[in-house]
């Protein structure tokens, strides 16, 4: 493996976005997309801890078949709050609000997003929603499952459903405004010469994600509003005793929540599409297909929601249609995996930390995605629905996929965000620890599910104990894998080696400006006349200066 080109001793720029103004008000009232991204980084990390704490309690409780840590009612609250915190307050905002906010203006050569004040408002709305949910967590919690199925959530539950539902409702507007901001920015604020097909794939991924934010989130908002109103005023939309229909709730809920999972994975795929060409020193294979597949996933993803409802009594014809569409939605994802792998072929690969996360992503996403097809198969789903097979499937995608994409992206752009490099050996070690811990945690859960262990149960038959113990052991290693980056990344902000503008080196516009960037991003608005990932016309960042790059840029595909 080759080390990155030796960086001569770099200096931090004298003035950049972190030190341009001082004081708490300059941070809390900032409209600089880079600072807002860091505000989000702190908040989503906080909720990651909260969700992780619940996960820890779940896994400790499941060490023994009868469980000795909590009562059954409390167990219900643990998995519910784990899901709510992780999905709505960590995963959905993570890459878009942290990396997307930071990078999109830089990647398209703009000074900021189209609506910087709305960007800040998004963060405050997120906080308000978060406060409601924290209030719910601390006054008895929720026991309905993150899916809030009615009439348990709207009538019978004795937990703090109402504040949680209000919190998630409010948080939805944070997402909607972020999506709106991204769509408008990408349409109207690209630098001269930066056509749609010269944009980095990270931007394409966020455009597709923003489509889902815009079309899907309002539906969950109205659904939770109705469920909340039903609970508060004893209305009857979803309560069979009053003529309502609980299945209607499920349809409305999953109409958003399925596309939501694409909100969680598309940005991570965008990160991978940036990392892989950089550390293979080659343009990405099949640029237009990767761009198009992002849009395809966003669109087709809206048509598959009832695959979460195969066991609710929906008609065979409906189930067949949704099953077929679910198979179809896997195709664009597979296209990406093939393209990433083809990018690696005959590349000059270096195993820097971001690349380790990207390679891990490709493998784990593959497993998670394929097991999704198992679940989309009607006959098979009858057996494995609501078992640990489902739990393992979505954790492979959300943790093995999305979170690894997020952590890998944080590492990749850390020099740009902070101006400093993290300690490479420690980082690679942590990546390996994370990968091993993750697999030990979740692979046994596939087996458990297939053997029949139901999800959301606080007990299990004694013969399943060995797999549960493996899973808990893995979880402790996984926790270490997350803790280590938090420590050394924080350490590196003060003591890391100064990175310079382009340590990898990589081809994006963001790497042409200083690290950390100035508040206005670029001293002069760039004019773009090159193709993305174009190592051929950038001999300064090709294999060795003067030698031809390994493949022509995407213009030939």
């Amino acid at each position: 493996m080759s080390a990155p080109p030796a960086t001569p001793g770099h200096q931090l720029p004298r003035e950049h976005y972190l030190n341009s103004t001082y004081g708490i008000r300059s941070w809390l009232l900032t409209t600089d997309h880079k600072r807002i991204a860091l505000l989000y980084l702190v908040s989503v990390t906080f909720f990651f801890f909260i969700g992780g704490m619940f996960a820890t309690m779940i896994r400790i409780h499941l060490l023994t078949p009868t469980g000795y840590l909590v009562t059954p009612e409390t167990y219900n609250r643990l998995f519910t709050m784990h899901g709510v915190a992780m999905i709505f307050f960590f995963l959905i905002p993570s890459i878009p609000a942290v990396l997307g906010n930071f990078l999109i203006p830089l990647m398209i050569g703009a000074k900021d997003l189209a609506f910087p004040k709305i960007n800040l408002l998004s963060w405050y709305i997120y906080l308000v929603g978060g406060c409601f949910v924290l209030y719910s967590f601390s006054t008895g919690g929720l026991d309905t499952g993150w899916t809030f199925y009615t009439p348990l959530s709207s009538v019978y539950s004795n937990s703090a459903v109402t504040p949680a539902v209000i919190g998630i409702f409010i948080n939805g507007f944070s997402s909607i405004l972020t999506g709106l901001n991204f769509v408008v920015t990408i349409h109207t604020m690209r630098a001269p010469g930066l056509t749609w097909f010269r944009m980095p794939l990270f931007v394409w991924a966020h455009y597709a994600t923003s489509i889902i934010f815009i079309l899907g989130t309002p539906v969950i908002a109205i659904t939770l509003l109705l469920a909340g109103l039903e609970r508060m005023f004893h209305l009857g939309f979803f309560n069979p005793a009053m003529g309502g229909d609980p299945i209607l709730f499920q349809h409305l809920f999953w109409f958003y929540s399925h596309p939501a999972v694409y909100i969680m994975i598309l940005p991570a795929m965008g990160v991978i599409s940036e990392i892989v060409p950089t550390f293979a020193r080659k343009p990405i294979f099949g640029y237009s297909f990767i761009a198009g597949s992002s849009i395809a996933i966003a669109v087709i993803g809206f048509f598959v929601w009832a695959h979460h409802m195969f066991l609710t009594g929906e008609s065979t014809y409906a189930a067949l249609a949704f099953s077929l569409l679910s198979y179809l939605v896997a195709i664009p994802s597979a296209v990406k995996v093939f393209n990433w792998t083809s990018t690696l072929y005959k590349g000059s690969i270096s195993y820097d930390t971001p690349m380790l996360y990207a390679l891990g992503f490709i493998g784990l996403f593959l497993i998670g995605g394929l097991t999704g097809l198992f679940l989309a198969c009607l006959g098979l789903d009858i057996h494995i629905h609501d078992t640990y097979f489902v739990v393992a499937h979505f954790h492979y995608i959300m943790v093995g996929g999305a979170v690894m994409g997020y952590v890998g992206g944080l590492h990749f752009w850390w020099p740009k965000i902070t101006g400093r490099l993290y300690p490479e050996f420690m980082a690679r070690t942590a990546a390996v620890i994370l990968f091993l811990g993750f697999n030990l945690t979740f692979f046994p859960q596939f087996i458990l599910g297939y053997l029949g262990m139901p999800r959301r149960y606080h007990t299990y038959p004694p013969e399943f104990q060995v797999f549960n113990v493996m899973s808990t052991a893995g979880a402790s290693i996984l926790a270490l894998g997350y803790l280590l980056p938090m420590i050394y990344l924080t350490w590196s902000m003060r003591y890391g080696k100064v990175a310079g503008p382009n340590p990898w080196p990589a081809t994006g516009l963001e790497w042409t400006t200083a690290s950390p960037p100035m508040t206005e991003n670029f001293p002069v608005t760039p004019e773009v006349d090159w193709e993305p990932y174009d190592f051929a016309h950038r001999p300064d960042i090709s294999l060795t200066p003067g030698t031809p790059a390994l493949a022509p840029a995407h213009g030939d595909d």
Partner: protein
């Protein structure tokens, strides 16, 4: 704070700024379509399931008030469009006049809504503990003629025989009635607030043919709120009317 009409820091040109603002408003309206859409879907499904109860519910709504409100709102859309036109053609005083007219019409709409809601409250048609579809026919007010009351009682009798759970299902209708018109009214209140802001800006002469983006965008929003009502009115007031 930037004065309106100046170039904001993140944009390169005023054109780009206007384009972004316009696209932003259209995208926001798309989210609103999806937001109301969930309610419309719920309404459609429930109406299909409980046609009898929904017919009864629909009959309790005052067609005169609802129809008048519809006319008022369409008129307000017209005055709003005139305000936009006036701003595009440099007629500064007319901009203010038309905006004030729009606000007056919008407030009229909201006032009549309050009257309608008060009526529902009196007739025990607000979903919750005291909901009773038969209350009005059994406790008529002084202004109801005996023939009207007899017709209402007969209608209710027929309805109950076709749907024993009429009260529950009618409560569903009214939950949706209040939910949908309430959400719509909330959007109108926001719109009224925006109009007040716009009027103040307009009085200061801020809107010219070169710069009238806020008028256009708030006009878009106002038209959207109007369109939602155009769908709400037939669905809630006109379907299955027997009288």
């Amino acid at each position: 704070m930037h004065r309106t009409g100046e170039l904001y820091g993140q944009f390169q040109t005023l054109d780009q700024q206007r384009e972004s603002a316009t696209l932003g408003m259209w995208v926001f309206l798309v989210t609103e379509i999806l937001f109301f859409g969930g309610l419309f879907l719920t309404y459609t499904i429930n109406r299909h399931a409980y046609g009898v109860a929904f017919g009864v519910g629909s009959n309790t709504l005052d067609l005169k008030l609802g129809g008048f409100n519809t006319a008022v709102l369409i008129a307000s859309s017209f005055t709003m469009a005139m305000a936009v036109w006036a701003s595009q053609t440099g007629r500064k005083t007319q901009v203010t006049v038309f905006l004030i007219l729009t606000l007056i019409l919008g407030s009229t709409f909201l006032g009549i809504k309050v009257v309608e809601y008060a009526q529902k409250f009196e007739h025990h048609l607000v979903p919750g503990q005291g909901f009773d579809i038969s209350y009005h026919s059994q406790n008529p007010s002084a202004t109801d003629t005996p023939r009207e009351i007899a017709a209402e009682k007969e209608e209710l009798e027929k309805a109950f025989s076709r749907d024993p759970y009429l009260n529950s299902h009618a409560q569903l209708y009214f939950s949706l009635y209040f939910g949908m018109t309430g959400l719509h009214a909330l959007h109108m209140v926001v719109g009224a607030g925006l109009l007040i802001w716009l009027i103040r800006q307009s009085i200061r002469g801020r809107f010219t043919p070169d710069y009238n983006t806020p008028v256009e965008l708030i006009g878009l929003y106002w038209h959207f709120v109007d369109i939602v009502w155009i769908y709400l009115f037939p669905l809630l007031y006109l379907i299955d009317r027997h009288k």
